[in-house]
Symmetry: C2
Subunit: 172 residues, 2 copies
């Protein structure tokens, strides 16, 4: 099934800018069998573990994270770009190619010591994931593992997440 | 359960700007029982109908729409703010308080004649929902119904969606 899933990832050249090949997951989402299979990869990894919350990153992380949380019967916590969450937040910076951006998580998103898993579609340079890990730590959560559908291994993003264990299902 | 769900919606004053009270759904997402109950409202409404795709709007619409699609065993199609979708798109404009913004959907997101349901967290003025309906029509889809967890009835958003049937579960 991993090989079938791989056929659902569309390479789009020169997006978001020239020289970058974007991994488009929308063909997976629109195909019922592939969407199910992609969610099941996350579920197989997390079922039977004691997890309190799934954390997902705005916006594609919401697609996988919310469904995984629903299926596991646990809560979901969103991390969003700055200015989108309405209540009091913790803030973490991350680097973009030019300059910095910020992400936020509500300060009451989880209780101290809660065991959480980070779910996202893609691990690239690891900048946003590392910021997410910092936010989870700031609000007192215990990040057990970061899970990604796709990992671009040549960008070495998992180094930025150390010492958090990283799992990915489709590697490039 | 509707009344319990209502307790999970946090009113945040003066967000995103002074004078506006924002309906914060993150307490629903983080509570396993309430999150399940909110998804089940959408599922009860759609089960047994012949639906080919769920369409969700960036970003909070992804939280509900993707899970509903997974549970129904059908595909999910994202609508995003302009510049986020990598492949060829149709574009629809919508009005903001000052000026306009644009949303996009991939041109191959659905096949002509496919029966789709729009899922979003909140119906306010109806601007983004109407743009979503226009995009579904442009790519050849047949919009059966628009479903919202929350409706701010005093903004009369469902008028903008006519003649599409509108369903909401928590009205204010």
């Amino acid at each position: 099934m991993l090989e079938r899933l791989r056929t659902g990832i569309r390479d789009v050249a020169d997006f978001p800018k020239k020289g970058i090949t974007f991994k488009d997951i929308t063909p997976i989402l629109s195909d019922p069998g592939m969407f199910h299979a992609s969610i099941d990869l996350f579920l197989e990894r997390s079922r039977g573990k004691k997890i309190d919350k799934i954390v997902g990153i705005d916006a594609r992380g919401f697609l996988f994270g919310s469904t995984v949380a629903y299926e596991l019967g646990i809560g979901f916590v969103p991390i969003r770009k700055r200015g989108k969450l309405p209540y009091k937040t913790e803030i973490a910076k991350y680097s973009l190619e030019y300059g910095e951006a910020e992400m936020e998580m509500h300060i009451d998103a989880m209780m101290a010591g809660e065991r959480v898993v980070l779910v996202d579609d893609l691990l690239a340079t690891g900048g946003t994931s590392a910021a997410a890990a910092a936010l989870i730590s700031k609000v007192g959560g215990q990040l057990l593992e970061a899970q990604f559908l796709i990992e671009l291994e040549f960008l070495h993003g998992r180094k930025k997440l150390q010492p958090t264990p990283v799992v990915s299902f489709l590697k490039y």
